[in-house]
Symmetry: C2
Subunit: 166 residues, 2 copies
Amino acid sequence: MKLGDGVEQAIHSMAMLACLEEGSTLSASALAEYHGVSPSYLLKHMQALSSADLVDTVPGPKGGYRLKRKPDDISLLDIVLAVEGPQPAFRCNEIRQRGPNPLPARYFDKPCGIAAKMLAAERVYRAELAKTSITDLMQDLQETDDGAIAARGCAFLDIHERKQVR
Amino acid sequence: MKLGDGVEQAIHSMAMLACLEEGSTLSASALAEYHGVSPSYLLKHMQALSSADLVDTVPGPKGGYRLKRKPDDISLLDIVLAVEGPQPAFRCNEIRQRGPNPLPARYFDKPCGIAAKMLAAERVYRAELAKTSITDLMQDLQETDDGAIAARGCAFLDIHERKQVR
């Protein structure tokens, strides 16, 4: 079982977007540069975040991405599902129904007990991811920061933040 | 995020091995036939279960696979880790350390807060999988069985079980 590298990139990018002034945007290429990752690969994940209604895509020369909801209303689960898709990791192929001598269909009205247990574990995983919002991540970061982390982020935003025209 | 199909096959196969008389074995090809799956693909997963010390591989004409531990001492987590490997699904690439203008290394003594939250969710997932043993799965199955499921399994084992020479 493996989550794609896009999950890490998407979470860090969402945290960076949470630092923008209201209405401002960042381009995918700026986010890619900041995190030292492939711009085309990150763009794909930003589009997935946009499709999931987690970010707005603003067109034009001042365009880019910005959060569509408040940071405390966006959880790790939202981001993971946007990037990886909503399907559970365990996908039951109903192999109990295969092979020679299958049972009558009425035995399969109830989901396979193995699938039920696997999906129950995924529910607790998702519930745990849903507990952490972007705001929580930013608070955790601030607690470890003596100023240098914020200064680095601000230096980056001074150059790359695309401010809303008022 | 996706678990390989081998997880489902391995769990069902382990449940079937739990039905054997003490010392008896089943071949990978018999298990593959019963579940209607590729013998070569299942063999790979049986070897992974063997490497993880969950099954014994008995060589020779009466050989095959049998559980190495009691069914109530083998959990879903044991099987998932055997087939999928022990690495967590979220693998931190430390992208916070990349890009231009990186912070001094001392800021990275503590694990990234994002990785910490993602791994915390995996811990609860694993803990949930660890709660269910093969014995639990068999008990769940028995509760839904009016006899036909057991009869189907017994008919299969009558032909394929390789009993220990006494």
